[in-house]
Structure formats: structure tokens, C-alpha cells
Amino acid sequence: MEVQTTKKKCVSCLPEEMLEQILVRLPASTLLRCRRVCKKWNSIIRDPQFIMAHLQQAPRCPLIFFPRESRSKKLYPSEAILFDEDWAPSNWNASVIEPDDLLSASCNGLVCLYSDKTTIKIANVATGEFLHLAKPVTKEYKVIRFPCERRSFPVGNVNFIQVYTLGDDKWRNVRSPKAQILDYEIRPGVINVGGAMYWLVDDKESSWGCTVVSFDLNEEHFEWIRMPNHNDLYRTGVFVVKLEIWTLDNKIDQSWSRKYNIQLPSLHVRIPNHFFIYGDKIAIYDCHRNMYFHKLMGQSIEIEDSKMVKLLNYGSRFDTMLQSYVHVKSLVGLHAYSRAGNGIVRRPKQLEAWGLKKWEKWTLDLSSLMKRWINIHQFEHLITV
């Protein structure tokens, strides 16, 4: 290209692959807006290959989820807090997550939800699209169901799981080869990393009392993985002060290595369920219902109060219910997985910043309850006088 004398260089002068390179770095929300710039941009952003490239590189952020619960005769709806690229709580309410929905997984831009009232729901939180797997209608996303998921007893009798490939006609049963049990432990839950699901099962023979089961989503086979050898091990509950992060380096020879050695400042600082390490950050929370992150530098890390970056205060929700997932805001669409686009619903956007509108009703309820108590108290007082 010769030296140009035009006033302003334009992006459109750049070769298309460079324009893609620039656009692919933008967050999903900006990309949706960029579709209106011009036809060329629109066609790039809608291209399935571009969407996949964007999904690959988009930052992985936390998605904090509080399942619905009832406490002290009060009902709390399910709700999610999304974080944006800069790790700030998003101003947008994840409207695809309804008050009764329970979150079961977050995988490559899509989340999987279920509730008592409806069938399993697959949703893209960033674009607001969702699809119910009501009447089973590319082979990239699979839904795994544990047949006795919601029954707490009797335990130890699950020896198969149900697999559904998005776009398929029906669910399939995949049996455990060793007639071994597959029941997972509720607390760490089931996680998906790199195309496989992992969960912990009881194992009396292991010094840990448990073993990791992995299910390869592509090959659809199970593997039992020994926990790393450790001298002074003891399993703990919620309260930990010292934390070691081990990673599974190789599934075949089952080798583990210690990635981080983390010292928490006190018993008041805890780690959430499911995921808590996002790239070079660890997510933690304290007994005052504040959520923080802390940078992981080096291998030995002492978490100091002063270096914890506060993310938010989650107010009246209970941290025992707090779940945290890895989420990526992507443009992944659901069209490929439904029959001729049937059944896809788009939920209108809702601007409901966490801690603003959301708790208005709740605090109003509480204040009316307080008023009633005061009235009763005054009434009792009158009677006794």
C-alpha cells in the first residue's frame, strides 16, 4: 500500500481478517451493537466461525448464583450475578434465569437450568436466548442428568447417567462399566473442564474418602482418577485457612501437581462452591457477605485483607447457598440445536442492577412486617395496661 493522502484511514481499508482480529477482542455486548455499524461488520459478527473464535478468547468471568430457598417462612427467588470483563457486577439482570430456575452448569457461553415446573432449559445469558428441551427435538453441547439427582436417599444406587446431545431426538443412558456408583457429592458439585465432567464419589478405600470420576463428553466413557498422594491430609468443611490447589496434569498416568499454596487470612474468609479460580484470580467471600477477588502471583500466596479487591456485598442472601461458575459472555446461538428454530425464546432485557430494584420489594416487606410487630406490641401493651 502506498502512502495515502486521504484525510482519515478507515477500518474498512484493512483486510477482512484484520478487522476480525480487532472485533474478536470486543465484549459480546459491544459486538451486538457493532452489528448496526455496516453490513460487512454484521456479516462478520454473525459468522459462526467468528462466534467460535470469540468464544475461545472471551474472558472467563464469575457467575454467582443463589438458588431459590425459603428461610424463616420467607421465599427467596433464584438469582444470578454476572460480572463483566472488568470484574464489576453487571448492571443487567440475567432475565433468562427465572425465579424458580436452578442452575446446573455453565459451559462455553451457554448455561443449563432446570426447575420443578419446566423441563431442562439451555440459555445464553448474554444474548437472552433460551430453549426448553421439552420434546427432544450439531453435536457440540451435551446435557448430563443424574437420574436420582434430587432425592437425597437412598444414596449409592446410581450406576448410569442420562446423556442428551443438543439437537438429538432422545436421551440415552450411559452405564458405569464397573457397576460402580456414580452419585456425586453435593458440595463440590459437578464441574466441566476441557470437554469432560468431573465429580467426587465416595470411596472408602481412598485415604481421602473419595475419588474423582470423569466423564469424557466426546468419547462418553468414564474414568476413575485417584486423588493426589498427600501426607498430612484431612478433609475439611467450609472452614479452611490453608488451601492447596492441585491440578490433574495427565489423566492417563493420573499425575497431579501442586499449583498454588494459599494461606487465607482468617476463618472468616471462605471459598465458594464449584469454581473459585478464574485465570490468575481467586474468588473468596467473608462472613459479612462481601465477595472479593485476589490476584494469584507465584505459587505460594498469602492472601492479605488489604489486597482483596471487593466485588460486591450480596446483602440478604445466605452464603451457604452461594454457587460460583465460570461464565463467558458469547454470541453462541441456539438455532443449530432446535428444529427449524422452533422453541427458541428470547427474553427481553431487563436493567436491574444488583442491590437496587431487586431488594426493594424485599425491604418493603420487611418494613411492613416490622410495623406489624410494633402494632402488635403496642396492642399487647394496651391490653396489659
Binding site: 500500500m1 472485533l23 477482542r25 451486538l32 457493532c34 455499524v37 455496516c38 454484521n42 444474548t127 494469584l296
Partner: protein, 186 residues
């Protein structure tokens, strides 16, 4: 002032070059000569590495007809700055983190380096980086351009980047309708 600074650095480069003579001379489309350390050029540019290895480097100035003098000066400047910088702790630590991001965040000096460029100079530099196969410089410049798009309306983006709106009103409305449910603000 910018030019003076550039000249100063170019002179400095020449001094360094004279000291070890391990440099290559590059010639811009408008005939200006620039010298850059052979090591840095080979490390940062796949095209220059290929030329050095293939012996197609001209001692009197390798012709780079596609790159203007201003862009080439920036390329050389970047190579020199890169050679002198020590990777930050953040870059080292991210190599052992779990989710490896394909794009590494620009470092502070790289940010400053692209921030001082004019609009046109930035685009010339992207093209030069692309032509010379300079992956890291391409990363840094693309990052800068994408930063310029964030938080802007379609109208603002068109204005900043000089893009013609080829939509009809009806077409725009159609897309707006389709995206009415999406997770963004306007």
C-alpha cells in the same frame, strides 16, 4: 517534539548498531533508511526472520515498499523498546494460570507506545505489523483499535473510523428489533 524524540532514538539505535554491527538496514517506501537490531527484528517479525535466514537482506537497505517512513520508524522504535523491556511479573505469572488467554494484555509501555500515535499512524502501523508478521505488535495495535470501539454507539463508531452506513432505515430497524432482547445498553 515527537519527531525529535524519534530522531534521538534512531541515533541511539545507530550508535548501538555501530558498536556491535549486528543490525539490519530497512528502507521505507519513500526511501528513508532505518537500522534495527538483527536479534530483535528476527525475534519480533516472522517476515524479517525469514529474510535474515534466507540471506535476502540488503546491506544498503532492504526495500520495504509497502511501508511508509513514519510507520517504519514506529516499527523500529517498537523493536528497540521491546528489546529493552523486561517482561512484567503479570506476564510471567499468567503462564502458570489455568485458563490461558490467547491475547496477552499489552504492557504499560506498549499501551503508551500506541496511545501517542495519531489515528492514521496507528492504522499504518497495523498494516506494517501485519505485513512484517509481527504478532505481538499486531496484538497491541488491534487491542488499541478495539479499545477505541468500546462504549460507542454505531453512529460514533462510523464517524471515528470513517465507515459508510450502507443500511437502509428499514434494515437498521429490523436489526434493532432482533436485538431488542439482547444484553446491551442502547
Amino acid at each position: 517534539m515527537e519527531v525529535d524524540k524519534g530522531k534521538g532514538e534512531a541515533e541511539e539505535t545507530r550508535k548501538v548498531a555501530e558498536a556491535d554491527r549486528d543490525t539490519v538496514t530497512l528502507k521505507s517506501s519513500d526511501g528513508k533508511l532505518f537500522e534495527v537490531s538483527k536479534e530483535a527484528a528476527a525475534r519480533l517479525s516472522t517476515v524479517l526472520a525469514g529474510m535474515i535466514a534466507g540471506g535476502s537482506i540488503d546491506d544498503n537497505g532492504t526495500d520495504l515498499k509497502q511501508i511508509g517512513s513514519e510507520a517504519l520508524e514506529n516499527v523500529v522504535d517498537y523493536c528497540n523498546k521491546h528489546a529493552n523491556s523486561i517482561p512484567s511479573a503479570a506476564l510471567i505469572s499468567s503462564s502458570i494460570s489455568f485458563n490461558t488467554a490467547p491475547f496477552k494484555e499489552p504492557e504499560e509501555w506498549e499501551r503508551k507506545f500506541v496511545d501517542r500515535l495519531s489515528h492514521d499512524a496507528l492504522f499504518d502501523l497495523v498494516e506494517a505489523a501485519n505485513f512484517l508478521g509481527m504478532e505481538r505488535l499486531l496484538d497491541v495495535t488491534c487491542h488499541k483499535i478495539s479499545e477505541m470501539m468500546k462504549g460507542k454507539s454505531p453512529d460514533q463508531i462510523r464517524e471515528v473510523f470513517n465507515i459508510k452506513n450502507d443500511y437502509t432505515k428499514e434494515e437498521l430497524e429490523e436489526i434493532r428489533q432482533e436485538l431488542a432482547w439482547a444484553f446491551y445498553d442502547d
